[in-house]
């Protein structure tokens, strides 16, 4: 890897992995479930929907389970965990001066292009995460650690999808070949 001084001082990934693994274990130990993220975002989305179109929410079974009638979709541990993730990310960023309004992008594309793709990618991620009933935090990490077959299949599918498309989208991330 090139040694430029501007390179951010991130933790050694193995260190991060060990710490994350310990955290994941503690999560199972204390709370009986693993980590999660997209479920929390899901509920926030649903609660916004509930504010705008409550009758529709009541009538759509998938959403009604979370927010129909009196149910408060935000009254759920996943939402708190999401809040914690943002807080933790923020504090970590602050401590290292990485909280800056900017756009991360590959060198070949403009910020606007990046935003468009981020939007599209996010859309697919949101849809896919619901489809798979989890995201990399929930399904892959947590389900993988407790040996769920579905989680492992999911994990490999994600890698397959990513690597499959990577070459065709390289202009998004790679410098001019």
């Amino acid at each position: 890897m090139s040694d430029d001084k501007d390179k951010p001082q991130y933790w050694n990934p193995y260190v991060g992995g060990v710490l994350l693994g310990i955290l994941l274990f503690l999560s199972f130990f204390i709370t009986s479930h693993g980590l999660g993220a997209s479920g929390g975002v899901n509920r926030i989305a649903v609660s916004v929907q509930d504010l705008i179109v409550p009758e529709h929410v009541d009538k759509t079974p998938y959403i009604a389970k979370m927010a129909g009638g009196d149910r408060d979709p935000l009254n759920h541990w996943l939402v708190w965990e999401v809040a914690g993730i943002m807080l933790g990310g923020f504090v970590s960023g602050m401590l290292r001066g990485r909280v800056k309004l900017q756009t991360y992008r590959g060198p070949q594309i403009s910020p606007r292009t990046r935003w468009a793709f981020a939007l599209a990618g996010g859309f697919l991620m949101g849809y896919g995460a619901r489809m798979a009933r989890g995201c990399t935090s929930g399904q892959a990490l947590s389900g993988g650690a407790v040996m769920s077959v579905g989680s492992w299949a999911f994990m490999f599918a994600v890698f397959a999808g990513g690597y499959g498309l990577a070459w065709f989208m390289r202009h998004l991330w790679q410098p001019e070949a």
Binding site: Y14, G16, L24, L101, G126, R130, V158
Partner: protein, 196 residues
């Protein structure tokens, strides 16, 4: 024997604070590992960055060892921990979609939260898209409900699949992880000709 009934011992607010703390640690570790940076994340798929596979698999292996040692010693009750039920086909299809989303978007849901927390605009767009995708799913799942429930194998674990016991599976997973670390490292050298 763990896990404990959190709400019973700490009350609802107390339990939520625990989740907040866990989330905090999660976000902190993610950001410290540079996962708030879409370039670092996407780099995994170009072999310029290997952090994703290293962090993920190390975490899984460490957690797995700790969890199953705890159950072995009677400190943790396996019956009580949440094991994701397997819905094979939606899991695979959803996974592929997420892989595509990863390349296009550069984040996954958890890391996008960290990105937004450090004011990255691409992360914010990603999160907006994520919410839209989630809403879209909620609105359209009715049409694919049969598919969404297909391949339902319930609680199906690797030991049950491979007819091999938990400890042996753990060894296999460790070997897999180590093989992946080595393999990806070689691939990177092969492609870019640089040592780490």
């Amino acid at each position: 024997m763990a896990p404990y009934d959190l709400v019973a011992s700490l009350g609802v607010t107390g339990s939520y604070l625990v989740y907040l703390a866990i989330g905090f640690a999660f976000g902190f570790i993610l950001e410290s590992s540079g996962f708030g940076d879409s370039r670092r994340l996407a780099g995994q798929f170009y072999f310029t960055e290997l952090a994703v596979v290293k962090v993920m698999f190390t975490a899984i292996v460490v957690a797995m060892i700790l969890v199953f040692w705890s159950t072995a010693l009677g400190l943790l009750d396996y019956n009580e921990i949440w094991v994701q039920p397997t819905y094979l086909w939606p899991g695979i299809v959803g996974g592929v979609i997420m892989g595509i989303g990863f390349i296009l978007g550069g984040y996954c849901p958890g890391t996008s939260l960290v990105s937004v927390a450090t004011l990255k605009i691409d992360g914010m767009f990603f999160l907006l898209g994520h919410i839209a995708g989630v809403v879209f799913f909620g609105e359209t799942v009715g049409y694919i409900t049969r598919f969404w429930h297909s391949g339902h194998m319930g609680f199906f674990t690797l030991p049950e699949l491979l007819h091999v016991e938990t400890g042996v599976v753990t060894v296999l997973v460790v070997c897999l992880a180590l093989a992946m670390f080595l393999g990806f490292g070689w691939l990177r050298s092969a492609i870019y000709g640089k040592a780490e």
